[in-house]
Amino acid sequence: MAAPESGDGNNGAARMVTLISSDNTRFEVEAAAASLSQTLQLTILDGGGGGGDGIPLPNVDSATLSKVLEYCIKHAPAAANGGAPNATAVDRAELERFDNEFVNIDQSVLYSLIMAAHNLEIEGLQSLVAKKVADMIKGKSPMEIRRTLGFPDPTPEEQAEMNAHMLEYGWAYE
């Protein structure tokens, strides 16, 4: 997996840092983008990750990390502006469109993304993926939720257990 384009690479002042995924792929990104992660921010402020060193991320594989960085690079300029104040409606609409597109992914990718967002403490991404999962669950019956999320059909035992629970709060399943 190759490193994604690192935004405005030839912006003279931009500092680059290297992140190393669990399978030893190296990613070079702008420090500003990587700093969206609370976990990495301190290390980067301390001057880590520059030059040949790199910051190892033993929790994140390269496929997930490239996806995470795609998000960070897209969101870094807005975050640098302090979010909303300077952003125009067009910019925000564009980010929103990007976000919607971004989480339109396979479920297994989504789960690794959730864990990565959590481990790296990227606030915006955390709420984006949480919202995606919530939307997959909202307004569905337990069986529909099972189907949406790729559960196998319930065993008779499981079915009995589900029914017992649905009896307890009958109104919630009407």
């Binding site: 669990s22 399978d23 609370q38 976990t39 301190l42 290390t43 880590g48 910051i55 190892p56 033993p58 929790n59 396979d106 479920q107 297994s108 789960y111 690794s112 959730i114 864990m115 959590h118 481990n119 955390q126 709420s127 949480a130 919202k131 999962v133 919530a134 939307d135 669950i137 909202k138 307004g139 569905k140 019956s141 337990p142 939720i145 099972r146 999320l149 790729g150 559960f151 196998p152 319930p154 499981e158 257990e161 589900m162 629970h165 649905m166 709060y169 109104w171 919630a172 399943y173």
Partner: protein
């Protein structure tokens, strides 16, 4: 030596005159509690009993005691109260005597989730590292001092040890975070909050070499094989689950429990539900009635309670039911053909006796709101309801008295209703009663005033009922907004000692309401038909120091209805939202005084005195078997 010890207890004067070395030898023999008690005796004793060298010697002298932690069921036959005593006792190996070190009472926990939520994770230098569900504390049981240790997430982290870091004398907690591939080790220095990231050991070059060789690539996460979603939720960290569940409407948050067992275990966990409850913004409740079929001659009436989302200005039904309209009821009384709509036994016959003269329609009345529970009544039927889960518990008929408060008795976990009898009667004093939810028996507490309060400031003539002037519970005290009949003092009831006393508000004015903001008492100050409001907060409870948070000037010119009618505004949120009650309308303004939204109530003025913060937490009061002859509240028709 024992003689000397007895002498100390008797506080003979000569004892103090003993040389310090001898005194300290005596003190060494005392148990920790007695050493603490010696401190107030005199300056010399205080110095001696606080001296670091002495305390260290005393500590070294204490025999190590084996700790046992266990739980004990509080409830007995016939019903399981789902309450446990969580106990920690120390066994003295010389005497084989047990001594209680920690004990508290709390709700049952879900055994399927795992071990008891209360655990001792480490012991070092007389300090105990203890956890209660996901909270972690370092305590000194001898002095009862404690500190909470914040950044750990116990679902996810395993505490490996507590130790004293030699060079700095800091106490540190070593813990391990499970992950798919390799465990990560962290160190938390007790008393600081930010070091977690700095001590991410795998980022330290010196330690990186110590990592065990990596095993084969773990296959987890990669394939969405069967139960992938189940495993995901089961193993996901607390924060991840929280972020998902808090975005779900209540109904979906309950539904997901039926999906599968791992989901149920995680999403019904009391710790998760408690945090969800705290994240809910309080929503003002609007109580009103309306004609169910306004354009037809069908005498049906809707009785409604709706919650207002102050951010979206949307109303959401909490309670709604339809019944024959009272005004038309007479026409039907004679005819047997009219069956009640619901088996909810409404008895209108003595309606006039039990209701305020000015209120000529029966109302679905909210008397109190606390922890997501509402005390609600319709005529003679009284309930405690949790609208989020639709659970309910009956209350005895309280229509003949004034309910003045609803609170949690913290040391027992009971919910209690307080009411008064004898208000405004010149010939008798007002008496206050306490009723524990789940029982039918009330206990009279009379009119008890704390000895610290110099005089009765109007307790004797009674309080405005809680449906108009709801109190706010903070910790163990219940506080009523300043009322004219209390001389505009804040009346306080200590729920443990059951005594009343008073506090001073920052201003004296006509119309004041209390609310809770970030664990502090706040006061909305306004006057009828006046455009200026203030919000004050009690920053220092002990010294009664109030600080003004906002002053709001309503843009009255925007709101033409205010020129014709009487209106009463109040601040209802920490953000400074204002609700204005006027006949047949409720107006919502922001903190700049600008009108945001109008809500019309053509039939009956809505009252907006309470706020609801929804909770899915399991309350023991709903688990008890229901009484005979009590019908289920029909408050959710079509909802």
């Amino acid at each position: 030596m024992p003689r000397a010890k007895r002498a100390l207890d008797r506080r003979q004067r000569s004892l103090i005159d003993l040389p310090e070395e001898i005194l300290s030898v005596i003190l060494l023999l005392l148990p920790p509690k007695s050493v603490l008690r010696c401190r107030p005796i005199c300056k010399a004793m205080r110095r001696l009993a606080s001296d670091r060298a002495f305390l260290l010697a005393h500590h070294r002298r204490q025999p190590p005691q084996r700790l046992y932690s266990f739980i004990r069921d509080v409830g007995t036959y016939p019903e399981d109260l789902a309450i446990f005593d969580y106990c920690l006792e120390a066994l003295d190996l010389r005497t084989y005597e047990f001594r209680s070190v920690a004990r508290f009472t709390a709700n049952d926990y879900d055994c399927s989730i795992g071990e008891s939520p209360f655990a001792v994770l480490g012991s070092c230098d007389g300090l105990l590292l203890m956890s209660w569900s996901n909270l972690l504390y370092l305590c000194n049981p001898a002095t009862r001092q404690w500190i909470s240790i914040s950044p750990l997430r116990l679902q996810h982290d395993t505490v490996m040890g507590l130790y004293c870091h030699g060079p700095s004398s800091d106490y540190r907690v070593l813990y391990c975070r499970r992950s798919d591939r390799e465990p990560l080790f962290f160190i938390n220095t007790v008393g600081s909050k930010k070091e977690r990231k700095q001590s991410l050991l795998l980022l330290e070059p010196s330690l990186r070499t110590r990592r065990p060789p990596r095993a084969e690539k773990a296959p987890t996460m990669a394939e969405p094989e069967q139960g992938g979603a189940a495993a995901f939720i089961r193993d996901a960290p607390f924060r991840v689950v929280l972020e998902i569940v808090r975005r779900l409407p209540t109904r979906s948050a309950i539904r997901i429990r039926a999906v599968c067992k791992p989901w149920r275990d995680v999403t019904a966990h009391p710790a998760l539900l408690a945090v969800l409850h705290r994240l809910q913004p309080p929503q003002p409740l609007l109580c009103f009635g309306r004609a169910a079929c306004p354009n037809r001659y069908i005498p049906l009436r809707d009785y409604c309670v709706e919650a207002l989302n102050l951010r979206s200005d949307k109303l959401r039904s909490i309670f709604r039911f339809t019944d024959y309209s009272y005004l038309n009821y007479d026409r039907f009384v004679g005819g047997d053909q009219v069956a009640p709509i619901d088996d909810f036994a409404v008895d209108y016959h003595d309606y006039d006796e039990c209701h305020d003269a000015e209120c000529f329609m029966p109302r679905l009345t909210v008397h109190a709101s606390l922890d997501g529970l509402l005390v609600v009544s319709f005529l003679h039927a009284w309930y405690v309801c949790n609208p989020a889960t639709r659970q309910w518990a009956p209350l005895p008929d309280l229509s003949y008295c004034d309910v003045v408060g609803f609170y949690e008795h913290i040391s027992s976990g009971e919910y209690r209703v307080m009411y008064q009898i004898g208000k405004d009667d010149e010939h008798v004093s007002t008496y206050y009663y306490v009723l524990t939810v789940g029982t039918r028996l009330s206990r009279i507490i009379g009119c008890p005033i704390s000895p610290e309060a110099a005089e009765d400031m109007g307790l004797d003539i009674g309080l405005d009922p809680a449906k108009f002037s709801p109190p706010v519970q903070l910790r163990r005290n219940l506080h009523w907004p300043p009322q004219e009949r209390q001389g505009y003092h804040i009346l306080v009831f200590n729920t443990e000692s059951e005594l009343f006393h008073w506090m001073s508000p920052p201003v004296r004015d006509k119309d004041m309401r209390l609310l809770e903001i970030e664990g502090k008492l706040a006061l909305s100050v306004s006057r009828m038909n006046k455009a200026t409001l203030e919000l004050w907060r009690l920053e220092d409870y002990q010294n009664e120091i109030w600080v003004q948070m906002f002053r709001i000037q309503l843009a009255v010119a925007q709101m033409t209805e205010l020129h014709r009618e009487d209106w009463s505004p109040a601040v209802v949120s920490p953000e400074g939202d204002v609700l204005i009650e006027c006949p047949y309308r409720v107006l919502h303004c922001d903190r700049n005084g600008n009108l945001l939204q109008k809500f019309l109530f053509p039939d009956e003025a809505a009252s907006a005195r309470h706020a609801l913060r929804e909770s899915l937490l399991q309350h023991a009061i709903f688990l008890a078997p229901k009484w005979h002859n009590v019908s289920e509240p029909p408050f959710y028709m079509g909802l």
